[in-house]
């Protein structure tokens, strides 16, 4: 579901600001930080521009808006989206622990391995938290 036009205008300006900051400050700050600023800025700018375009398209064609709203709120589509997210997360957790083992095999720095293990643990903590939360709610 699309947000208000002002939201995308703001994120677009923030994106442009980050791109400019990354470009102008590249000599003064660490290259990797400038790269991160440029990357986040570009992503934000592109996403906002695309959403603004979609919003303008919907404003011109109310039928498209209605169709998009139905597609978004359709119960089968929602169930499919949730199922796909759950399945993807399930697969990704094994990739993360796999990355953990690879970092051990290639003798990577300890913090890299620990990060992979922590992300794997975080997945299970979040999983338990949401199971508990939804059991109380439903």
């Amino acid at each position: 579901m699309l947000r208000k036009k002002s939201f995308y205008m703001t994120t677009m300006i923030v994106g442009a600001f980050l791109i400019a900051a990354g470009f102008l400050l590249k000599e003064m700050i660490d290259k990797s930080i400038a790269g991160v600023l440029f990357g986040i800025g570009s992503g934000l700018f592109g996403m906002s521009a695309a959403n603004l375009y979609m919003k303008a398209l919907e404003d011109k064609n109310p039928d498209i808006r209605k169709k998009n709203e139905i597609e978004q709120s359709d119960e089968r589509n929602t169930a499919i989206r949730y199922r796909a997210k759950a399945k993807s997360a399930d697969i990704i957790q094994w990739f993360i622990i796999g990355i953990g083992y690879i970092t051990i095999l290639i003798d990577a720095t300890l913090w890299v391995t620990l990060t992979a293990v922590l992300v794997f643990a975080l997945y299970h903590v979040l999983n338990a938290y949401f199971v508990n939360k939804f059991q109380k709610e439903m």
Partner: protein, 66 residues
């Protein structure tokens, strides 16, 4: 769960697109319901039943697994 949605819809001369628009669901949902690939929520089942002025049991047939 089986259903008579396709039969009822066709008997009333309604297209999948029209039914989908009336129920505010996607056309694909109507297609999946008719093919029995998707079981609706109780809310959608009520909406469908009310749309055709029928009871849920007249449209959806629940058979216990043996």
């Amino acid at each position: 769960m089986k259903n008579r949605l396709e039969e009822i819809r066709k008997s009333r001369g309604i297209s999948q697109e029209t039914l989908a628009a009336d129920l505010e669901v996607s056309r694909q949902t109507i297609g999946s319901l008719e093919k029995g690939r998707y079981n609706p929520s109780i809310i959608l089942a009520f909406k469908i039943a009310r749309h055709f002025s029928m009871s849920i049991e007249e449209i959806f047939i629940y058979e216990e697994e043996k």
